[in-house]
């Protein structure tokens, strides 16, 4: 087939949103406009009226979750942390975005384990994004910062892996904010209520760390911990990693790398996909080994979200 028209022009004809559909839905949305304009500014409850019956269920669940967390936040003020927040003191509700900071992950009311990936976009002074995690009693259990890809007038992306430690499952809050260049106060505070869950067997650490079948973004389903494996070993699981690329390495009993490969998950860069790959290796004798599954950071090439599976390597 020969078609010399520009690709974009041809693609434009496949637009799944037809003008007729857009026009009709715009017309149908007229009552919503009036409803929105009747909303008092900052009256969060008004959001509920705008959503469909299906979405109402989700909102109700959110409100219940907030109801559990807010009393704690009110009864135990954040030690003056929010006194300078221009958005107002107290954590009335999850706020995934302030004027200058938008948090894309984790989503409000999700369950997180250490290390939690906090990511989003920000336009903050010197691109410095501060992150804190507060536990169920409002103690600061993590306090760190990261650098956005752009700042002081332009919006950049940020992503930080924040380790924390809790002994029991509990509600918590992740705060992302800017430290004011004027007076050092916290400004543009974003609050994400979450459930903090302890990692079984301790905190996951990079290569050489304790065994774990799952990190925040990679979950390995096979092989199981301490399984006996022979070549080729099938490594499978789910992952939400940059460009869906999952890296896999096998170390033998003396920590030599005896296999080093990668595979592509069915989805990535923001969505979770499945992966499965057969990794051949060769050992002369039965010995302990480790299978590492990880993501290579697009920023600096470092290895992150490492999952370490101790296994017994058996000659084929």
């Amino acid at each position: 087939m020969t078609n010399h028209r520009p690709i974009i022009e041809r693609l434009a004809e496949l637009d799944p949103a037809s003008p007729a559909q857009i026009a009709q839905m715009t017309k149908d949305a007229e009552p919503v406009r009036a409803e929105i304009m009747s909303v008092e500014i900052d009256e969060l409850a008004s959001r509920r009226r705008l959503r469909s019956r299906r979405a109402m269920t989700a909102v109700a669940a959110t409100i219940v979750a907030i109801g559990l967390i807010v009393p704690i936040a009110i009864l135990l003020p954040l030690a003056g942390n929010d006194a300078t927040d221009p958005r107002g003191a107290g954590a009335e509700a999850p706020v995934t975005a302030s004027d200058r900071i938008e948090v894309l992950s984790p989503a409000p009311d999700t369950t997180v384990t250490s290390p939690v990936i906090v990511s989003g976009t920000a336009d903050v002074f010197e691109a410095t994004v501060s992150i804190r995690i507060l536990d169920g009693t409002n103690n600061v259990i993590a306090d760190t910062f990261t650098t956005a890809t752009c700042g002081s007038g332009c919006r950049g992306d940020f992503e930080a892996e924040v380790p924390f430690s809790v002994s029991t499952e509990q509600p918590g809050v992740i705060q992302v904010f800017e430290v004011s260049a004027q007076d050092g106060s916290k400004i543009n505070v974003v609050r994400i209520p979450v459930t903090l869950v302890p990692v079984p067997g301790g905190q996951i650490t990079p290569a050489g760390g304790p065994p774990a079948t799952a990190s925040e973004t990679i979950e390995v389903l096979t092989p199981a911990l301490n399984a006996r494996v022979s070549s080729p070993v099938t490594v499978s699981g789910t992952a939400n990693v940059f460009e869906a690329t999952v890296s896999i390495r096998i170390l033998d009993g003396t920590n030599n790398v005896i296999a080093d490969t990668f595979t592509t998950a069915t989805c990535g860069s923001g969505c979770r996909g499945d992966f499965e790959v057969e990794v051949p290796f060769s050992v002369g004798t039965e010995q302990p080994g480790v299978i590492q599954v990880f993501e290579v950071s697009p920023e600096d090439g470092s290895e992150r979200h490492m999952v370490t599976i101790p296994v017994t390597l058996v000659p084929a």
Partner: protein, 176 residues
Amino acid sequence: MDTQRLARFEHLWETLFPRVLGYALRRSDAEEARDVTSETFLVAWRRLDDVPRDDGALPWLLATARGILANRRRSAGHGIRVGQLLAETRPVTSPDPAEAVAERAALAAAFARLDERDRDTLAMIAWDGLAPREAALVAGCSPATFAVRAHRARRRLAASIAVEDATALEIRRELS
């Protein structure tokens, strides 16, 4: 109520509601698109002072819609589905219907083979009608980065079309 505020919101709604709705429709089903667009304009109403004037308003609204969609997708456990409804796209008129059908099928299949980011990048240009500078604001990257993404996405779509061409040719033969 501040009449200037009311007038400004009215203007935003009149001029940009269809654009935001279109953006959402290309990435979700009709019901969700309606909810996402309503929610986007609620955010705009509450933060009207933050909505840039003139040309900056559309990227701001689309970036907000994008964030709302992403939050919903994360809750639902899957990614943004750009153009997943391609199979149901409206028909195009052509002097040669058989050729048009084959061409559309090949292009749709080639587009569907791209990864999500490439589809989103091309959709912002071809369907949402955004200039590269605006699309970069929506995607949250620099214009230079977006230009590189768009160039690569076009190249990958062209390569994907080449793969589909043989199939499309067969379809055309069958139809003729």
